[in-house]
């Protein structure tokens, strides 16, 4: 049983903070390129500083990951699911770091001033090179969709752990106690299951 195996508190705080920021960021990005209304410059003005905040948090998160051992996956997890869990987390770290850097880099290569906010301009991290801008901009959009799909898979898997397998993996990040018969958890709004705890416990 994994009930005492939680992610470290800094890891959980970073996870949920970044979850909100990254979801907001993907929606801001997808929304701003869809419109020519005043929402376009408004969303764009939010997109850049949030991206830099995500980059900074992602760097902190790498340090936290390297200094705090995450709880082990359940030993009975099928190898394919375990591989998916591991692989998807590498993708998450990659995208969390790459997306802001690509954004910053593409604006630099496009010859744009990289505004954090009015009057606060970040230095360019790439030389003005239109073709490089073009491909980075293309990658930024494509990886944004990929990021959203990855999050869908992540949420699906987390809910599968929490609702179907009920192996404590979801709770290792929510920080909630592993659900019991007598204490329905906020993460488990469905009727308590008489078969719980599972046989492997």
């Amino acid at each position: 049983m994994t009930r005492n195996h939680l992610f470290a508190l800094p890891a959980r705080v970073l996870h949920w903070t970044m979850a909100v920021l990254i979801l907001a960021m993907l929606l801001i990005g997808a929304g701003m390129v869809s419109t020519t209304t005043a929402r376009y410059p408004e969303l764009l003005a939010w997109h850049r500083p949030i991206g830099i905040v995500i980059l900074l948090l992602a760097l902190i998160r790498v340090v936290v990951r390297l200094t705090h051992r995450p709880p082990p996956l359940p030993s009975d997890l099928p190898p394919l699911m375990a591989a998916g869990a591991k692989g998807s987390h590498y993708l998450f770290y990659g995208l969390m770091l790459a997306m802001p850097l690509i954004g910053w880099g593409m604006q630099s290569a496009g010859g744009y001033p990289v505004l954090l906010w009015k009057g606060a301009v970040l230095p360019p991290i790439l030389a003005h090179e239109p073709l490089l801008y073009a491909w980075l901009r293309y990658a930024h959009g494509l990886l944004g969709y990929a990021f959203f799909l990855l999050i869908l898979g992540h949420v699906g898997a987390a809910l599968f752990h929490g609702l179907i397998r009920r192996d404590g993996v979801l709770e290792s990040m929510t920080g909630a106690a592993t659900p019991h018969l007598d204490e329905p958890s906020v993460v488990d709004p469905l009727p308590a299951d008489p078969a719980f705890p599972p046989a492997y416990d």
Partner: protein, 354 residues
């Protein structure tokens, strides 16, 4: 694992959550709103109205010439805006003269719309970019009308020309477009890029040190004496007449304009670029634009920039004019497309042997 019946129900819950997330994303991204106009949709309709895509070129104002020089601020603008352009001093400027239309090879006599893109390089990496035109008003007041007008201008595949009936239908229901066309018909056409007045088109907001907001428009008044083109003989103009004239003229001496800021009166429309501010207005001359170098696009430093009118420094902000965000989004879409296509040889550079 829960019993099979519950497992199905719980899988259903997971599916509902994921589908809901996809729907929210799709809604935000506009996939469920075919009527929403994106910057890309504006670029699409410009390409359609051009009759074809000219790879590597701007989707509008495709034909251009790079210029460079400086802005000499006289200090008077400081009372209106905290923008770093306005304290007395000199700021480097690069820019681009262009004619309207999406055909980079069009003859200058046919493209009667003159424009100037400017990049003011302010201290601390700040920039102020402008895309200003030689007309004080614009042809439509909002992006939906712009798209509809371009759609009405798409060449008929049979004749290769726009259907006059469709254009007429648009103009009939849009008196502001008729007013613009009347203006174009009656207003004399500058004979040179150098002797035209360039207008901000849209209203903007200036914010001063105290945080006071003022709605403004601005224009650049040429020092060169005005002369008009003979509109009856436009077709007879050599292909690159305007651009050649600008290169020749700037080689002889700098071109200068006085930048004049017009402050809105109470009741002036700030949300509609088809409406002029008439009657007496307070005007403040804030400095002089000096352009002393002209270079072809291939050799110059203007082609690979987006003269997005919403790249603004502290002290300047957008008004409530719906054209401004639309211009910003559409220029950005055009920039994405032409940069991925890569630069293509432009008419002026070819003529200049570059």
């Amino acid at each position: 694992m829960p019993p099979p019946g519950q497992t199905v129900a719980r899988l259903g819950v997971i599916a509902v959550i994921l589908v809901a997330a996809v729907l929210v994303f799709a809604w935000v991204a506009g996939f469920l709103s075919p009527g929403r106009i994106s910057g890309g949709a504006v670029a699409d309709v410009l390409e359609a109205a051009n009759g074809k895509v000219y790879p590597g070129f701007r989707r509008a104002h495709a034909k251009g010439l790079c210029v460079a020089g400086r802005f000499e601020a006289n200090g008077a603008g400081v009372a209106l805006s905290r923008a770093a352009l306005f304290p007395r001093g000199t700021v480097p400027v690069t820019g681009r003269f262009s004619t309207g239309g999406g055909n980079p090879l069009a003859t200058d006599g046919r493209n009667v719309f003159h424009a100037l893109g400017l990049r003011f390089a302010l201290p601390g990496g700040e920039e102020w970019r402008m895309a200003i035109d030689h007309t004080p008003i614009f042809v439509v007041s909002n992006p939906a009308d712009f798209v509809a007008l371009q759609q009405a201008s798409v060449p008929d595949p049979k004749t290769g020309k726009p259907d006059p009936a469709r254009l007429k239908a648009f103009v009939t229901t849009h008196p502001e477009t008729q007013a613009f066309l009347d203006y174009m018909k009656t207003a004399p056409l500058p004979s040179s890029f150098a002797n035209g007045t360039y207008y901000s088109i849209d209203a903007f907001r200036f914010i001063d040190q105290a945080g006071t907001n003022r709605f403004v428009r601005w224009h650049f008044v040429p020092e060169a004496p005005f002369a008009a083109l003979d509109k009856a003989k436009l077709d007879a103009l050599p292909n690159d007449a305007l651009f050649d004239e600008a290169r020749t003229r700037i080689a002889k001496g700098p071109l200068t304009w006085r930048m004049v800021v017009t402050l809105a009166n109470p009741g002036d429309r700030t949300d509609n670029a088809t409406v002029r501010w008439t009657g007496p207005h307070r005007e403040v001359e804030v400095g002089t634009l000096v352009l002393d170098r002209a270079t072809t696009e291939a050799a110059g430093d203007c082609r690979d920039y987006n003269f997005d009118p919403l790249i603004l420094p502290r002290g300047v902000a957008a008004s409530d004019d719906p054209l401004l965000p639309a211009r910003s989004a559409a220029y950005s879409a055009s920039f994405r497309r032409r940069t991925i296509e890569g630069p293509h040889p432009d008419a002026i550079s070819q003529e200049a042997g570059q």
